[in-house]
């Protein structure tokens, strides 16, 4: 089913602030097999010049996915999530996320394209601290395969 073009340009968020915790960073690092002590040991992270343990580079997906969740669930968008695969993803960091960061995420629908039976939904999510410092821009392309 073609996605609803009316959503292009729509902005979702910022949602409730997300607090980056040491426990969540360690859990994520364990889940992806990231071995670095900088994700687990505060002293090691401080010696490397960081305020606290840092998140692996794909950790921002945890925050951006929460932000895009509201969009994906919009009934009028017409997205069949069971038919969705990830098409593209990018992260551009101003600095690493670290434990203690309190951030919000705002997602903009950049484009919706239909190619035959497939639809492509491109979003851009800005992750900034509650003080307004940019940390990461996460761009995502979701592909809804045709049935």
């Amino acid at each position: 089913m073609a996605l609803n073009q009316d959503y292009v340009g729509r902005v979702f968020g910022p949602g409730a602030p997300y607090e980056v915790s040491r426990v969540k960073i360690a859990e994520f690092a364990d889940a992806i097999g990231e071995p670095s002590e900088l994700c687990r040991d505060r002293e090691a992270a401080r010696q490397a010049g960081y305020p606290d343990v840092i998140a692996p580079p794909t950790f921002a997906i945890v925050i951006s996915t929460r932000s895009t969740g509201g969009l994906r669930a919009e009934p009028d968008l017409g997205l069949d999530y069971s038919m969705v695969v990830h098409g593209e993803q990018s992260f551009t960091y101003s600095r690493p996320l670290h434990a203690g960061d309190v951030v919000t995420a705002t997602t903009t629908v950049e484009s919706i394209r239909t190619l035959g039976a497939m639809s492509m939904l491109v979003t851009s999510t800005e992750i900034t601290t509650v003080a307004g410092e940019h940390v990461c821009t996460a761009k995502s392309t979701l592909v809804e395969r045709g049935r």
Partner: protein, 140 residues
Amino acid sequence: MAITYNDVEPGTEIPPRSYQVTRLDLVRYAGASGDFNVIHWNERAARSVGLPDVIAHGMYTMAQAGRYVAEWAGDPGAVTEFGVRFSAMVPVPDDGRGATIEVSGTVAEKLGDNKVAVELTARADGAKVLTRARAVVRLP
């Protein structure tokens, strides 16, 4: 020993690595990431939407490439840009072995400010599963 900016030139190859991915890894990743799409853990649901088997989260595969380049740089915080296109699925059979993701990389360009652009490749079962995979990494 971590690599330094002066050690590398365009064309410098990063030693390839292989990472095993099992159903347990996908369940753990679903929990840690919050992506509970059924196609990543429920074989019946995956087949019902035309997939060959449970498939790995694209983000799990991307995370393996991220871990690979971060380990080379010696610091996960050194990765300032990271982008990929997911070009093929990674089916993860329930056979006790799962799938193998093979990652390799080459320095494409030396940028200013001690940064280098790295082109990455990831394969599973002979297929390229990531294309246009590129990371910008700051080296010591």
